[in-house]
Amino acid sequence: MTLASNTVASTGTNQKMTKSQFKTYLTLILISLYCMVPFIWVVLASVDPKASQFLRIPESVSMEHYWNLFANQSGLRWILNSIVINVSATIIALVFAGFGGYAISRTKAWWKLPLLYAIILVRIVPPPALIVPVYKVMLTLNDWVNALINAVFTDVATQQTMSRAFSFVDGYLGLILILAAMQLPLAIWIMKTFFDAIPIDYEESAAIDGATQWQTVRKVLIPLAMPGFAAAGLFAFINAWGDFLMPLMFTSSPELQTLPLGLFRAFLRVDAIDYGFLTALAVIYTLPAVIAFSFARKFLTQTFSGGVKG
């Protein structure tokens, strides 16, 4: 067992070093293989005109599945829906968490500490436990919104349009708000941690220099908290983008389908699965998450200690 030798210079003989190095590389290669093998199929199948559920080396490589995504109505629709819904949810989460994190960081109220503990507990509520009550809440909000829409607009077409936009079940607004809400506890924590690190003197001296409130925010606070916004935004986006439960619960119209649900439902068409199309879509769906993750990686440790440990 030479696990501890990581931080100390190895003192063994040359031969021993090679042996342990060999073991190190072998282990790492095995772990990496475990991590990489599942990807081979999705990448190969997405460029294989004869894609199937099984791994095979394509006889010819073609990008046709990728082009099909943009020619195919549903593929493009899913991509665009995912972008609109998740970007909106991320922006809402960021704005709310920005204000919230700042206020919690600065406030001196006696309930600051209980509030912070409460947010930790909110963060660990398992979403599957919420599906029934959230479903009921969404139904109620949905009834209110639709009653309002039907009262304000008389034209059926406008009613349908507004209802698609602002419905809580099977509408954009509901999905955006719930996805935003789910990201808030973590985002608030991240923002609070970052604002904690910005001394209040900065704001006060800016105020003394005659800066207006808005100028202080724009010229002092936002630039200083930018890494915080980046971290919070990235994590909110990754989580919302990957979420499957909420779209599963709250979308049903084909027009509203997002990537995870579209993929899943297309996969349920047991008798006619177009693997080329699905794998290309899966690759497209995975890319933003991977890119965001590669940026977010360096914040990961901070976040978890920030989010849970303090």
Binding site: M1, L3, A4, N6, T7, V8, T24, T27, L28, I31, S32, C35, M36, V37, P38, F39, W41, V42, A45, Q53, I92, F96, A97, G100, Y102, I104, K108, A109, V122, V125, P126, P128, A129, L130, I131, V132, P133, V134, V137, L177, L184, I188, G242, D243, F244, P260, F267, A282, Y285, T286, A289, V290, F293, S294, R297, L300, F304, V308, K309, G310
Partner: protein
């Protein structure tokens, strides 16, 4: 009315945090409490109860404790959490963290490869592994085991729970690795040197210094990964949907199935209450035990 500067500022803060707190209240906190009251009703999506539900006291819980499928689900959840979060992810993540801190080449490449699964959305994870586990001689995993002379298997049927544990381990190695790497690098180097001068062996150093110094990080990891694994849904849902024969029906799936395929919302809510209580207990335990600084 004249407010002092300080008072006004405090009011502004409250005003600023309202939208965030309101959103969390409507969609998380209130529903969590609402689950308790729903669990005392016969709320349903079908039948007369869909029109008008009524209070049924604790009968959902009585039924729950009599239901072998509920106990099965608890057992499956426990095995899933222990198998993937506590053992699988932790061991592989720890091993990777330790090895990647050694002076080796291609460090960035190994790092990126191990991290990739963590970035993949749940739905795609299911999709990838359905192909890995595909039955018949052309399934990827079947081809791999064929090198070792093993006959083709129906992985998701014959070893369903192990199969999903392997998938979740795959997905979470990176998280354990990243967290433990930061834990390992924060152990001061001079402690190791001092121990070495005192003649400690590698093994002694590992068990007497590394592990104790790493304990807070390990606990943090165990807490976060237990709680997140407990909350998993999409991954198992896309892979096996709790089947075959309820063998992968973790609590999240059980709640979903009871609520949206058996359409018994009240009963589903009573399972949700159990799940909420368990995760809250873990949370409170963690916060109290480790005196979380905020």
């Amino acid at each position: 009315m004249q407010l002092t500067y300080e008072r006004r500022k405090q009011l502004t803060y409250r005003f600023m945090m309202t939208p965030a707190l309101l959103l969390m209240f409507i969609f998380i906190v209130f529903p969590a409490f609402y689950a308790f009251s729903l669990s005392l009703t016969n709320e349903a999506l079908l039948g007369f109860a869909a029109k008008e539900s009524s209070y049924v006291g604790l009968s959902n819980f009585e039924r729950l404790f009599d239901d072998p499928l509920f106990w099965n689900s608890l057992k499956v959840t426990l095995l899933f959490v222990i198998g993937s979060a506590v053992i699988g992810q932790f061991l592989l993540g720890f091993l990777s963290a330790v090895l990647l801190l050694r002076p080796i080449r291609f460090k960035a490449m190994f790092n990126a490869m191990i991290c990739l699964p963590n970035a993949v959305p749940e739905m795609v994870v299911g999709f990838l592994w359905i192909s890995m586990y595909a039955s018949g001689e052309y399934g990827t995993l079947n081809r791999i085991v064929a090198w070792f002379g093993v006959d083709p298997q129906q992985w998701l049927y014959s070893f369903p729970l192990i199969a999903i544990i392997i998938v979740n381990t795959w997905r979470g190695v990176a998280f354990a690795m990243i967290l433990l790497t930061s834990g390992l690098s924060s152990i001061p180097k001079d402690i190791y040197e001092a121990a070495r001068i005192d003649g400690a062996t590698d093994r002694q150093i590992f068990w007497r210094i590394t592990i104790p110094m790493l304990m807070p990080t390990i606990f943090l990891y165990m807490f976060v990964s237990t709680v997140t694994t407990f909350a998993i849904f999409g991954l198992v849902y896309t892979l096996s949907r709790g089947g075959p024969a309820n063998s992968t029906e973790i609590l999240g799936i059980y709640i979903y199935n009871q609520s949206f395929t058996a359409f018994q919302l009240g009963y589903g809510a009573s399972v949700a209450v159990i799940s909420l209580v368990v995760s809250m207990l873990i949370g409170v335990f963690y916060v109290r035990m480790f005196k979380v600084e905020v």
